[in-house]
């Protein structure tokens, strides 16, 4: 029973880590229709930004928002120069290739700047543990859980209450209609992209103390985020959060009770099953045709 409870807790905690990056991908994939192969690279960028800030003496809690700002700025520049010119409305293979090449460029830059070796990132919650009813959770993970919940709730509220947020939702549901009602669609797209990759960067910064910082760190997160987004339903933010928790739980349970070495296939099997039998996922709209 103890094992089950601890496994469930592990799953939820890990899932909350996925939630942030998955919500970011929902913004870029779900709303902008870009199959963002560079999402993992932005995640890594956030982690590297935190590492570089730490190495000049900035404390972790200050480095985190700085890193997010850096990633958002980079996202802005990229949206302006690359995404806008090549990715809207050209179909998948364009976005796939361009974002893949972009990921390679970013990774090569990070490798050239910081070298191939993995670097540790020190966080104030580093090695601490929280023990609740005999269940152990690492301090940093609690921090991630709290930050995720806070950021995502704030974001959800902003989407619902603010004008800009409502405009984003409008563009997500009906870009042309939004254009006709006078919404500045290009600007909304830019903002969505910036927010989306900013979320990935935040996730990278949050997870850096746990995973250490190394050039290929984005790859695993890329796959997981796509799985989560599909499970949750395209374009649905709440779906992405739910999907993240479910994937975290499913992986933890499968790994503990069934087989460790087949666990990587679990996510993929789920994605395939969902796309074949329930493509709208948990919360998305039923749309078999996609760009």
């Amino acid at each position: 029973m103890d094992l089950l409870l601890q496994t469930l807790v592990n799953g939820l905690v890990v899932g909350s880590g996925y939630a942030v990056i998955a919500v970011g991908l929902t913004l870029v994939f779900g709303i902008l229709g870009i199959v963002n192969f560079a999402h993992g690279a932005f995640y890594a960028l956030g982690a590297y930004a935190v590492f570089l800030a730490l190495s000049v003496g900035v404390p972790y809690l200050v480095a985190l928002p700085i890193a997010v700002a850096v990633v958002v700025a980079v996202g802005f520049l990229i949206e302006l120069s690359i995404v806008r010119r090549s990715l809207y409305g050209v179909g998948n293979h364009g976005s796939l290739i361009v974002t893949f090449a972009l990921a390679q460029v970013l990774m090569a830059l990070m490798l050239l700047i910081a070298g191939p070796d993995p670097h540790p990132v020190r966080s104030p919650f580093g090695q601490s543990n929280l023990e609740v009813f005999g269940l152990m959770v690492a301090g940093q993970r609690v921090f991630i859980l709290l930050v995720s919940v806070a950021v995502l709730s704030a974001f959800g509220l902003w989407l619902q209450r603010s004008v800009r947020g409502q405009q984003i939702t409008a563009v997500a549901q009906n870009p042309r209609g939004a254009l006709y009602s006078g919404i500045n669609v290009p600007m909304i797209r830019t903002i969505s992209f910036m927010l989306g990759v900013g979320a990935a960067g935040l996730a990278g910064g949050l997870l850096a103390p746990i995973t250490t910082v190394f050039p290929t760190m984005g790859n695993g997160s890329l796959i997981t985020s796509f799985i989560v987004v599909i499970l949750g339903g395209m374009g649905s933010i709440s779906g992405a959060m739910l999907g993240a928790l479910l994937i975290g739980l499913a992986n933890a349970l499968f790994e503990t009770y069934v087989s460790v070495q087949w666990t990587p296939a679990l996510g993929w099997v789920l994605v395939i099953a969902i796309l074949l039998f329930a493509p709208q996922g948990l919360r998305g709209k039923a749309q078999l045709d996609r760009y």
């Binding site: 746990i210 760190m217 992986n251």
Partner: protein, 379 residues
């Protein structure tokens, strides 16, 4: 023709001959290194490069080999894939005009490369550890590093005879290297009547081990044995082990722990026992000469990867010199097998399969983020 013209002609001929002779003598001996210079294993390629360069510098400073010829190192990126390795080795052999191929950090890559070099050129595998590589019995293929079996045998002996846990659990990445480690571990534990209560193999992209560690903890083993060669992942794993409370005895597969792994682990690996063919603190003059020279150049202690790269270049240079040729490979191979070679580890001897063995194997423990020598065993 007048005598003067003849003399002038003879003088010119003698001059041009001597220029040719010097040019020929100055023709460097090219050694080709196929290593991972990009991708996930780039850190090994980088270390290998540093070790090789130190060795080449020393050889050249001492006057070179084969009558004053200098060593020239040529690098090609094997990209960590068999295709990359094959292309790298072919390029080195043709465009690079290498006389010897070395490098090699990944077993699948070296296996692919060995089919290209077989019977064609001398290949000295620096770092890859799969037994299958040298099991092929290729006449010009040699290996400086211990194979997985050699390391496991020596290390497991310490675990079963000295540490003596009652039960053990295994965690490792799903690779050929680790599978062999696991097989040897199973055999050693069974022979010593130690129960292996849990086996978990995870894939390369895993960075969250909490579920696995929790599961292992629920079985309550005395010893946790982790087999993982990638610094960043292993560091994460140990941090998470530490956060979940750790185990009574902790061991890490021999031959993989480097400062590149200890540094990101930030103290989480303190107490872990491992084994290695090389340790920087070993006091013999040969070892210290190498360690000091490296420290002087790079301001850090060398690790095992630096060592095997250094040794490979030194042994190649010595062997070519002693054989008196840079291309008579049967002769060079014979010279390599027939003689012992002085290296920082002591005298190295190659067996019929081309595997090198040194006198000692070192058991180490991590203390304060550094590897400290516990004891050494004779091979």
């Amino acid at each position: 023709m007048t005598r003067r013209t003849m003399l002038q002609g003879a003088g010119a001929l003698a001059l041009s001959l001597s220029v040719c002779a010097t040019a020929f003598a100055a023709d460097p001996v090219r050694i080709g290194l196929a290593m991972p210079l990009s991708g996930a294993a780039a850190t090994y390629g980088n270390d290998g490069r540093q070790g090789a360069e130190l060795a080449a510098e020393e050889v050249n400073a001492a006057g070179g080999i084969l009558g004053g010829r200098k060593l020239e190192l040529i690098y090609e990126d094997d990209k960590g894939t068999p295709q990359g390795g094959v292309a790298a080795v072919q390029k080195l052999m043709t465009v690079g005009r290498a006389k010897v191929i070395t490098g090699g950090m990944n077993s699948s890559v070296v296996l692919a490369e060995s089919s290209v070099t077989r019977n064609k050129i001398l290949q000295v595998n620096m770092g890859a550890q799969a037994d299958a590589i040298t099991d092929q019995g290729s006449p010009f293929l040699f290996q400086v590093n211990n194979t997985v079996s050699m390391n496991s045998r020596a290390f497991n002996k310490y675990l079963t005879d000295v540490l003596k846990p009652k039960t053990a659990a295994y965690m490792g990445e799903n690779t050929e290297f680790n599978k062999t480690v696991l097989e040897h571990l199973k055999a050693s534990l069974a022979a010593a009547k130690i129960e292996l209560v849990s086996v978990s193999t995870y894939d390369a992209d895993t960075n969250d081990f909490t579920s696995i560690i929790t599961k292992v903890k629920s079985q309550n083993p005395d010893l946790l044995y982790v087999s993982d060669a990638y610094p960043s992942r292993a560091a994460q794993l140990w941090k998470q082990v530490r956060q979940l409370g750790g185990f009574k005895h902790e061991a890490m597969s021999p031959g993989v722990v480097t400062p590149g792994m200890l540094k990101p682990a930030e103290g989480a690996m303190n107490g872990v026992i491992t084994g290695e063919i090389f340790v920087a603190s070993e006091p013999s003059p040969a070892n210290q000469a190498f360690v000091q020279a490296f420290r002087k150049k790079h301001n850090v202690d060398p690790n095992k990867v630096h060592l095997v790269a250094y040794e490979a270049i030194k042994v190649i240079a010595e062997a070519l010199n002693r054989a008196g040729t840079d291309s008579d490979y049967p002769k060079i191979a014979k010279v390599l097998r027939d003689n012992p070679w002085p290296t920082p580890r002591g005298m190295l001897k190659f067996d019929e399969k081309g595997r090198a063995s040194a006198p000692y194997f070192y058991i180490q423990q991590v203390k304060d983020g550094q590897l400290v020598l516990l004891t050494q065993s004779r091979n």
